[in-house]
């Protein structure tokens, strides 16, 4: 359940940036290949936000689809797993998108 540790990080970072302002919304970007389950983050968020500046804040999560590029033939492709095989037969695929784990913005009062 590393989502709990990840959510604690989210609350800590946002609290620090908010200073003393109340946070009403937090927007995250989570890649579909990041090994993080967005629903688990949502579950942990309300608990971790309790008694902090983030209590009651809305959590928005934008999920980023996986995208890769073959290092052999430079073909770009969708990735549903971290591993894949290019139509050219190569398995040397570099992940271009889908591993994001970022806090994009917050809304404060």
């Amino acid at each position: 359940m590393h989502e709990l540790a990840v959510t604690q990080n989210i609350v800590a970072i946002v609290s620090e940036k908010a200073g003393k302002q109340k946070v009403t919304r937090v927007k995250l970007e989570i890649g579909m290949l990041s090994a993080i389950v967005p629903d688990a983050i949502r579950f942990c968020f309300d608990v971790c936000a309790q008694d902090t500046l983030l209590e009651g804040a809305t959590l928005e999560i934008e999920e980023i689809a996986g995208r890769g590029k073959c290092k052999h033939c430079s073909e770009e492709m969708q990735l549903s797993l971290l591993a894949g095989t290019c139509p050219c037969g190569s398995r040397d695929i570099v992940c271009l998108a889908g591993q994001e784990l970022n806090i994009i913005e917050m809304e404060v009062l």
């Binding site: 359940m1 971290l82 809304e107």
Partner: protein
């Protein structure tokens, strides 16, 4: 018990130095005074929230009222911050320290029971006259693994992660302070047995060493691709049991290479010693690098 996240004192990460018997918390005293998740922060703001005051004030407070009713505009602030930035930063500090002290740090990751501790016991026994070796043990609870390592004569600290399912860079930094490994040495970090979470948390190690025992099933690399993708080397352990199992070793290698075409795979038996010379040669090469 903490009402916010349900953690108790037992659930907090702590470190036991097997040489001195000292036990310390991963968090500094200051952090503990403050409340470990900063739960106390922001209380004064909450107690003055506008909604709560609206209907309570009498007319005598008209002026104050007007002031308090002024609606603040919400502001959107762009952060663009990595969620694991703090861990990554601490990991880089660890990495810098390892470079400065010429310590080769390897992060051993596997499912529980794959044979990490047995591999370490054997490796220490075979190489301790060649290199100075230290170990950081990570488990949710007990000193069992550290006690096993201590018997080899090797300096060891145990990190008990409590509720945590992985080691993080802060825990390792605190463990290193206790362990104080010498310059020009080899440091093995035995992570919590878990094929998911440790892949996400950089500790500052030079490489991750994945261990997969052949009793686990050959499809583990594709079931847990993050871990096998993050590892530089894969040790297929308990190879001595091959005659008793239906394990398809070539298929397992195929799966591992499909998630990580660069991964180096070595078949070993930590118990019987087969394949260990190749593992030791790999270690020697890393140290010389």
């Amino acid at each position: 018990m903490c009402a916010t996240c349900g953690c108790s004192d037992d659930a907090r990460p702590k470190i036991v130095n097997l040489q001195t018997g000292n036990s310390v918390s991963v968090l500094s005293d200051q952090d503990l005074d403050k409340g470990h998740h900063d739960h106390d922060d922001g209380h004064d703001i909450h107690s003055h929230s506008h909604d709560e005051h609206v209907h309570e004030h009498t007319h005598e407070h008209t002026h104050q009222h007007e002031l308090q009713h002024t609606h603040k505009q919400s502001t959107t602030i762009t952060l663009e911050e990595k969620i694991l930035a703090k861990n990554d930063l601490l990991a880089e500090r660890n990495r810098g320290w390892f470079e400065g002290t010429n310590i080769l740090a390897l992060n051993l990751v596997s499912a529980p029971g794959a044979g990490k501790t047995a591999l370490l016991e054997r490796t220490i026994k075979d190489l301790q006259n060649e290199f100075s070796i230290c170990v950081v043990e990570g488990d949710q609870a007990t000193l069992n693994d550290a006690e096993r390592i201590k018997k080899t004569g090797c300096p060891v600290v145990q990190i008990n992660t409590g509720a945590g399912c992985h080691l993080d860079a802060q825990m390792l930094a605190a463990g290193l302070k206790q362990l104080n490994p010498p310059r020009d040495s080899l440091l093995f970090i035995e992570n919590v047995g878990n094929l998911v979470c440790p892949a996400l948390f950089d500790l500052g190690e030079k490489s991750k060493v994945a261990i997969l025992s052949i009793t686990e099933g050959e499809d583990k690399p594709v079931k847990y691709p993050h871990m096998f993708r993050a590892a530089e080397i894969l040790l297929l352990n308990k190879i001595d049991l091959l005659p008793h199992l239906d394990f398809d070793i070539e298929l397992c290698k195929e799966y591992a290479l499909s998630v990580n075409p660069k991964i180096k795979i070595i078949e070993i038996s930590a118990r019987q010693g087969s394949g260990l010379n190749i593992w030791y040669d790999w270690l020697r090469k890393q140290i010389r690098r």
